[in-house]
Subunit: 357 residues, 4 copies
């Protein structure tokens, strides 16, 4: 059973391979009468687009999105929104070598084990190129959420290198090629990642996504918890190996009193003393910012040779020449934002359906 | 939109509140002609059952499961399997106090914010008691997986205390009240947790689940990845705040060469040099053991007072008297195993549906 | 892939066999804060209950429903509502004979062909007893729809015998054992059906379900059309072989002008000149009464012998002794009403989710 | 909640409006390693294509299908298959008049009532043009079913005019513009329909779809019955008002003995004496041909004036000038075949998932 659809009421189905003629998605369930045009989507795609700095793949894709359905005279109609992005820079020749061998750590092997066939050009369906469609869908999800909800992401760890959270500045995120919120680390990270790339190596990262303005009450026990859906959404992104909400793994070391987010009344309104929970309690949003993180492993496509096997079961050494991100985690920032937006939009509609207004 | 169903082809719907007459689940999609009786399920419930050591809640529930449908003459028929467990020790009087106040960190508050009503007795639907149904469903899932797949879990961290992985012994897991695989820490942990309890406090934990014998090819790109479903499954367990697969968050600090699981041929069969990936590549099982972990926060029900508010918005201090686990993570071990088994059984059927045999 | 769940947002999962210990259902997605008790459900079960007239099976079942979850202090909580009905009059001995032979026209054969196993006692899962759960769920669906929507059904054809629609009287439906709205046919039908039963035969019927007060806008193109869901809902009822909306099959013989429901303005409100469409246009409710019918074939369990085979492939003659309805269509009236109510409740929530209000 | 997806394991999502740039569909869950190219799909689209006889709309659309994903080197890969068909002959000027008025019997009105917005050009999403995508998906479904299953359809009633079933000839279906299997009626029907068109009127029809070679065991009780899914599939087709399986509504008039399909053994194999059931018992295929019919109402777009209202609530008379089918039922034949193929392919995979090969 294949499953290329995400969400229940705000449902996104993506399709397409890295080196096919195009990629795209169909968004079903979008509310009607929302102003929407390509101009609402393109800026998010531009942010994720490869080839913009020395630290991402040099593949040049304009990633120009077209709306093929579901919008009439500038407004959504409530019918499926079909978005398509043409592939223009498919340098398939780069991949001839890997048609017959498996990159360790890559999906190459398991696609063959599962399906008995694989489109090896650029990783086919398993390519991170698919995430462009998520970003496009996320832009539509943001419109559903409205201006009261703000979803932002940042790189908070590059390989072993942390940030100083006291220097967190959202504006800085848009100023450097890492989406890092701490201006103090940019120079060091640039040097570090240049070294990684020069060595023909790659490195992992941790991304944090924060959603402000999320109304209380989104999420549905037991198997449709808001954080369970966020976890699935993030884990479905290429190369992600871990997900956490609020204090996440650190909360395992806390005592109950340390972890409890005290409740107060301030000017007649509920206020929390802290946000260890990351805005989600019992799977339901509490009205606090929703804070989640995910860990991205290092790209498995790299110039360093690794022992591997061919399709015919002969041992070999693999190096991947093509064009790759030395840290695929960087471009995962807009993807994580998009997935968070999609989860929230879906839950907004689900909540409204069951509970009303 | 409520969602109390887990899985697509092996579908589990749970129902019931902590202090209602009973809890239960309906398992839909189970293959026919599998030998099944209450005796296949009860041992797993007994393992999760409260009141078995000083380190879990003293609520006494026999957790006796009954099969009400879907089994005929000792075999599954392919129709829905209804399982029911009566609640017998509902000491609701313990909860009178929390009817009017919210436990910080607990789902109390958000159920009221979402639904405008909440069954406060024992946490109602948000109680960890619901997990008994997961354990029951997991026992059926194991039968679907067959004896070739073994799903086991262990506590690998208690608060700040780690284990020594070189001493890992699966047999030890069944010998101590913590499900910890390292005999060397049992005494220390017992003393530590007794202290936590005596202080009216609670503590978090990390659980590791390992599935051996999982065939290659399970999992479906893009939004039905095996690890995405595992992440959702674990994150849906009460008090879980983080999930990771293989090296998880540690992989963010690795370089590509460090992280790559080299491939070799050994006696004509594929062999991996390591298992940083945790048995999942591109969302599809590779044939290696599937290894995943989740972090459980400390119980929010405790004797230590925390600032909170009443339903009427008056500030107060909350302490929770009832009967609670000082470390809810301990009993999460069988629950995590059950969720892993359910995910694998679901994907086994999904794979067979699309790809065959 | 089994599928014992009906609906998307108002989701009903039924379970249970005719001669197991109990049958039941789980209703997930019900809005919170709806007043609900067993007394809201029982009258509908009583209406469907067997053994009430000479024209239905003599099996005596009290069909007493119990609510096991999802209701607190007389109100729904938004969590799953588990309903259970015990089986008390399981005269399994009646069915010993059919354990080894297949009733022509019955599901006996195909359950064995599909699953390789079948609970032959009273038809097991394929028994019309399952419909009691639908009726219970339908009672809850009516509460979701509120008092503005009225769902009623009637028998409009018994075998070859029609009614006179000019004498239609909804009050009459509750006065006779056929749920027929035309008092003028009751005596004749009673005599006719008594003859059918005496002959050891059975007969088909047509049921009409009318929903008044359905707001305009329910239903979702393309594959979630209101009438597509009604068609599936009715066709899923035991022994149903045909479904139609509005003029149904008769509309095939109409010209465009004959079929068009003209639109007028009356006192500032939209009014239709006729209702050939049966209240559904393009899969969406128009605000007119939703009118649908379904055809029920004659019961395949009867005393008249029919050529058949045994499980071992030996030719034989089958007669069914047990207790059966000579016209299973009669008791299908409350079942059809229930399914209509479930479809409407589901679409009400689905519409609210996407469009609001 | 919008729902533009059909099926569970073989899942088809369609998108697009009559006068947008293109229409298309995404097929998810198709098994891998099935030979597939545009040449497998195009003949079915050509069969449904408008403008081929005097009896269908004169809109000229090449309906050229392109495969954008999911196929590699001539074989399906198990990933989503994206199909797109450009709209080339969008004479939108025809529809200016109906932007402000509602065609009685058409979806115009209810789209506005539901969504508050509607793409009026050619009916937008409610146009029968959407069915081209179904036909394309059906062609892929046929490949999944393999050559052992044959799905064919025919027009069996045109307005009040029946066929003589003793003259049924499948080969004749491809020889006349009506898809009618009885050569004896072609001339009369041509004359009749020419008259209807000349009168600016339209007429209904009944279509029969027969699937031979369907293996026993497909279909899943209770709410995933094969015939329930067929009913939904057919009822979701534009203008369909009734659906029946086997003897359908006629079975209401039958007695049990008349309706029973006797079972025999012939040369060691099960044989049925008749097929009143239409190949489906208890929702599961029996191995006999699956026979189903659906009724199509007359097109609501016609030159005959009908009383209606404008968007502003002013009474008016509507005539529809554009290009329309005088009997939309004719082109529904390939659409019905496609939906039957999709339902069967879906159930084939669902059955294999639960029960195995």
């Amino acid at each position: 059973m294949s499953y290329n659809t995400f969400g229940h009421m705000f449902r996104v189905t993506t399709w397409g391979e890295s080196h096919g003629p195009a990629i795209g998605c169909v968004i079903d369930g979008c509310p009607p009468r929302i102003a929407l045009s390509e101009a609402d989507i393109q800026p998010f795609l531009d942010r994720r687009r490869p080839g913009q700095s020395a630290f991402t793949t040099q593949r040049q894709e304009p990633d120009q999105v077209r709306i093929l359905s579901g919008v009439f005279e500038g407004q959504t109609t409530g019918t499926p929104i079909s978005l398509v992005i043409e592939n223009t820079d498919q340098r398939s020749r780069d991949y001839g070598a890997i048609a017959q061998t498996y990159r360790p750590g890559h999906a190459d092997l398991v696609y063959d084990l599962k399906y008995g066939i694989r489109d090896y050009r650029g990783g086919g369906r398993s390519s991170a190129r698919e995430t462009a469609c998520r970003v496009a869908a996320g832009a539509v999800a943001r419109k559903v959420l409205g201006s009261g909800v703000r979803v932002r992401g940042a790189l908070v760890q590059l390989g072993p290198k942390d940030i100083d959270r006291t220097r967190w500045d959202w504006a800085e995120v848009e100023r450097n090629p890492f989406f890092v919120p701490d201006a103090g680390v940019v120079e060091d990270w640039a040097e570090y990642l240049a070294g990684i790339r020069k060595d023909g190596s790659s490195i992992g990262a941790v991304i944090e996504i924060v959603a402000d303005g999320v109304p209380a009450g989104l999420g549905a026990p037991i198997y449709g918890k808001l954080d369970a859906d966020i976890a699935a959404a993030f884990m479905s992104i290429n190369a992600v190996k871990g997900v956490e909400i609020g204090d996440g793994f650190a909360s395992a070391s806390l005592t109950g009193p340390e972890n409890a987010d005290a409740l107060f009344m301030r000017n007649g309104a509920l206020e929390f003393g802290s946000n260890h929970a990351g805005g989600v309690l019992g799977g339901i949003s509490s009205g606090q910012p929703v804070v989640a993180r995910f860990a991205v492993k290092p790209t498995s496509s790299m110039l360093t040779p690794v022992p591997s096997i061919t399709k015919d079961g002969v041992e070999t050494q693999v190096i991947t020449k093509g064009r790759h991100d030395p840290c695929v985690g960087i471009r995962a920032v807009p993807v994580g934002e998009a997935m968070m937006a999609c989860v929230l939009a879906d839950h907004l509609l689900r909540h409204r359906g069951q509970v009303g207004g």
